[in-house]
């Protein structure tokens, strides 16, 4: 099963401040632990929202809003994609992430949808339709 662990932004990350050397070292060691345990599939850090945009679609129009965005605590500063046997296991891994020198370090854990999650409602016909949509998306890409 896959999980995404989203690192929440804070004032420092939104200000574009780089982590301290000690923080970088601790994070590096943690990442290495995840890789050595075979659970980390991917992981990246993100630039502050001042370098990002939002594309807003409505029935009538498409609007592009440029960052920065103000609701700092709802923003994402990075992510890990983890593969674990259970939700609890992914959670245990996140509990081992390094603590910050000051302030808060908030990570949000969410399971990634898998076909099985749809259960009975996800009939073969719907699965086929999903496959067609994916194929279409792939072609458009």
């Amino acid at each position: 099963m896959r999980f995404i662990a989203m690192v929440k932004a804070d004032e420092r990350s939104e200000a574009g401040e780089m982590p301290t050397e000690a923080e970088l070292a601790a994070m590096g060691a943690y990442n290495e632990e995840l890789v050595k345990a075979g659970v980390m599939l991917a992981g990246e850090g993100l630039h502050p929202s001042s370098r990002g945009s939002r594309v807003v679609h409505t029935a009538e129009k498409t609007t592009v809003l440029d960052g920065p965005f103000t609701e700092t605590k709802e923003l994402i500063a990075g992510f890990w994609l983890l593969q674990a046997k259970s939700y609890e296991e992914a959670l245990e891994w996140l509990k081992r992430a390094p603590r910050p020198e000051t302030g808060e370090f908030v990570i949000e854990l969410r399971p990634v949808f898998e076909a099985e999650d749809f259960g009975e409602a996800f009939t073969p016909e719907l699965q086929e339709q999903e496959a067609r949509i994916r194929a279409q998306a792939e072609q458009n890409a």
Partner: protein, 479 residues
């Protein structure tokens, strides 16, 4: 375990952030901490810590069986205490402390027994009890070198004195952190069978006087295949699972991938370890595309490539690069069987459409693979690749050279491939005979049906061709 894990969406609401230290107080939903949830948290801790715990204990007691039992004792203690006390801040250290105390007790008991047996009359004052401090000293002296312990654990669990089945069971237990129940469910055997295998494996290791050690240098390279084989076997067991199977079976693919990734980091200089990871990542990337809605298998060239997992492909190609960078003449070994198979899988993964497949390169890779591991089955695969690269006649030539191989006389894929090539060459009557032979040889019902269908199609198509010719002749006359 974690039967609720199948549908995280449905059960997500009851999951508990068990005793997360400090920060989870005033946001989100405050959650209770029922014992069931603590059990799940303990299982999760076990999955993360089991291998390191057993590896560390193995170094102390020099015996994998005893180390595993001590770790299990610590797990039992956690199951007794954590539901009331909560999961400790550093669960790994907690488990290790409990296991260590038990190890010391055991050694003390044994020493007392031995003293009574052999040294009656000796002044007890002169012999020193081992203390917890001694163990801490041993542990601390090599702290941070958990990798060495893990390596010892891997090579002991996969020791050549053990049967393949025993190696698989022991590896999943001590390295994968799987319970006996989980292993039994995944391999479709009774739980008692798995327990017996593990008990016997521990006895065999003890009887053979196998030390808790990892080989070094050339010997490591020589024994690595017995480890890789175990990991790939677990992967294939999961990969061969079908749609209706218990989800524990397909989950074996993830267990194998995880073991492979751990192994590759333990022996980063071994090309084949990366080769195996590459092969498994790329094969796993197709798992969503390889069965149809009814569970029927879909052949590689007919799969919807949009459903291939691009992340796993990327990971597989990266691992393959690492494997290949570690081999090549003059001073390095030639690519091994796993790296070569991964390279073949990578050719398919890189092709956006079946038509873009680099069959010339695949034929060459099969030639190298046949050289590395001489096998008529590999040769047969090579023949198929050659036919795709250079036409059915070239492929048929190779297949015909294989017809005399004694290993293939009852192998249904030989006539099946031959039939396929004959169809492409328009020799349908011969093709029909081959498909019929293949159908008689296969043990798989679904495959037999498919082969019989193809045999019949040969007759129908040749009959059809005749009919069309007769028809068109008539049209010609009338037109």
């Amino acid at each position: 375990m974690a039967s609720g894990a199948r549908g995280p969406l449905a059960t997500h609401g009851v999951y508990v952030v068990a005793a997360v230290t400090g920060t989870c107080s005033n946001r989100g939903v405050p959650r209770p901490d029922p014992p069931l949830t603590t059990h799940r948290a303990i299982e999760a801790v076990w999955r993360i810590e089991a291998a390191r715990l057993i590896a560390g204990l193995g170094r102390l007691v020099r015996d994998i069986g005893q180390a595993e039992e001590l770790a299990q004792d610590a797990l039992v203690a956690a199951l007794e205490q954590w539901p009331a006390s909560g999961v400790p801040d550093n669960p790994g250290a907690w488990l290790m402390a409990v296991a260590k105390r038990r190890a010391i007790d055991q050694i003390r008991r044994r020493e007392r027994f031995e003293r009574k047996q052999e040294e009656i009359g000796r002044d007890l004052e002169t012999s020193r009890d081992p203390s917890e401090d001694d163990f801490d000293a041993v542990l601390d002296s090599v702290e941070g070198n958990i990798s060495d312990d893990m390596l010892r654990l891997v090579f002991t669990a996969c020791h050549p004195v053990l049967s393949t089945e025993a190696r698989v069971a022991l590896t999943l237990r001590v390295l994968g952190g799987l319970t006996t129940t989980e292993i039994a469910r995944a391999f479709l055997v009774p739980e008692s069978t798995v327990s017996q295998r593990i008990v016997r494996a521990k006895k065999t290791l003890a009887k053979a006087g196998v030390q808790f050690e990892a080989p070094v240098g050339d010997e490591l390279a020589a024994r690595l295949p017995s480890v890789l084989e175990v990991v790939y076997l677990v992967f294939n067991e999961g990969y061969s699972a079908t749609a209706g199977d218990d989800w524990m079976r397909p989950a074996l693919c993830e267990d194998a991938l995880r073991l492979g990734r751990i192994l590759a980091e333990l022996v980063p200089g071994e090309s084949e370890a990366h080769g195996l990871v590459a092969l498994m990542e790329i094969q796993a990337s197709r798992s969503r595309a390889r069965t149809g809605p009814g569970g029927a298998p879909i052949l590689l060239l007919e799969q919807d490539r949009a459903r291939w997992d691009q992340l796993l492909i990327h990971r597989g190609l990266t691992a393959l690069d690492r494997a290949m960078a570690l081999c090549g003449p003059p001073d390095r070994p030639a690519p091994g069987p796993y790296a070569l198979q991964a390279a073949i899988a990578a050719c398919h993964a890189r092709a956006r459409t079946p038509e873009q497949t680099d069959w010339v390169r695949i034929s060459e890779l099969y030639r190298l693979l046949a050289y590395a591991v001489p096998s008529p089955v590999v040769e047969l695969n090579r023949a198929v690749a050659v036919s795709m690269a250079f036409g059915p006649a070239a492929g048929l030539e190779l297949v015909d050279q294989l017809a005399s191989a004694p290993e293939l006389t009852s192998y249904h894929l030989l006539p099946s491939v031959r039939g396929d090539l004959l169809v492409k060459l328009g020799r349908r009557d011969e093709a029909r005979t081959e498909f019929e032979r293949a159908a008689a040889l296969t043990g798989n019902e679904r495959e037999r049906a498919l082969l019989t269908e193809r045999a019949t199609a040969c007759t129908e198509v040749s009959a059809g061709v005749t009919a069309i010719r007769a028809d068109s002749g008539g049209n010609d006359r009338s037109g």
